[in-house]
């Protein structure tokens, strides 16, 4: 998404990214970024919360009007009701390490099989 924004901006179209993966967007480097510190999935506000969604979109519109230089990040004031997601998402620890290794092995086998089938067709 960051790459697409950069391309549009290079070609004369002002852009704002709305998202929750702060490091990925900021490391890439984008013109304008509205950051909401939520679990990934609802960068424009909580589901069914019209007022919050309006506030976040309004922040993006204001940033379009007021940004005077690139790499401006604005963080919206909203917080998720708990912090569990910060540690739970894509967690790796002793409880799931073996299962993850098995899952990776299974995926590689499936991919190899898919590749063989494709080569067979070609």
């Amino acid at each position: 998404m960051s790459l697409t924004a950069r391309h549009l901006e290079e070609n004369g179209l002002p852009t704002v990214i709305m998202g929750s993966a702060k490091d990925i967007v900021e490391e890439c480097g984008v013109p304008r970024f509205v950051f909401t510190d939520f679990p990934l999935g609802n960068p424009c506000g909580k589901p069914w919360d019209r007022e919050m969604q309006r506030a976040i979109v309004e922040t993006a519109l204001t940033l379009l009007e007021r940004a005077w230089m690139p790499r401006i990040t604005v963080q919206t004031p909203f917080i998720w009701e708990n912090d569990d997601w910060r540690t739970e998402f894509m967690k790796v620890d002793e409880t799931n390490r073996e299962a993850l290794a098995r899952e990776g092995e299974r995926r590689r086998q499936l991919q190899a099989l898919g590749k063989q089938q494709k080569e067979g067709r070609d």
Partner: protein, 190 residues
């Protein structure tokens, strides 16, 4: 006690206790950053799955910048999403990556997001406006905050290949935006 309750109705001691509680909620000390680093997290996760070569994310020194050329109330605003427009017909069907432009109104009731990288335990994507705010933008257009919303929105697939995004997808999105007379673009990353 609910924050924001009328403090005038509380005894002096309760009020002091409440203000102390507010302070503890508004301010915390910690030794680590609270923001999740998705670069760190995904690298560790795929390493645990046995992928030895980590994904390398793009990083640029230079960042382009184009100021808005006219008042926002005269601008047509476009939306770009990473969500897909089609759902697979069976659970084991893998849909090909699709770049698309789609009629924005009436807004879709559902978008396909199962294939994307987001927190399926913590939240859901059943309200399309939580990641593709077509209804919210229509409200801002009606109120005159923006000139109009583009009649189409644009879907760009997330792609392992940065080259494909830069050489194929982004130029196509630009072309569609120009066809639709778009003046500014919101891109929402799921």
């Amino acid at each position: 006690m609910k924050i924001g309750a009328d403090p005038g109705r509380l005894s002096h001691r309760k009020r002091r206790r409440q203000s102390h509680k507010e302070v503890t909620i508004m301010f915390q000390r910690q030794a680590y950053r609270s923001f999740v680093s998705y670069m760190d997290r995904s690298r560790e996760y795929y390493a645990a799955q046995g992928y030895t070569q980590p994904y390398t994310w793009p990083r640029f020194r230079e960042v382009p910048f184009t100021p808005l050329s006219k008042a926002l109330s005269a601008c047509r605003v476009g939306l770009v999403t990473t969500a897909g427009r089609k759902e697979p017909e069976t659970s084991d069907q893998v849909l090909p990556r699709e770049l698309y432009a789609m009629e924005a109104y009436p807004p879709p009731k559902r978008m396909y997001t199962d294939h994307l990288f987001w927190d399926k335990k913590a939240t859901h994507t059943e309200d399309v406006d939580s990641f593709l705010p077509l209804n919210r933008l229509a409200e801002f257009a009606r109120e005159g905050r923006i000139g109009s919303v583009s009649p189409r929105f644009y879907g760009v697939p997330t792609d392992y290949s940065q080259n494909r995004t830069m050489k194929q997808d982004a130029p196509k999105i630009l072309e569609w935006c120009r066809e639709d007379g778009v003046d500014a673009v919101l891109l929402t990353a799921l």
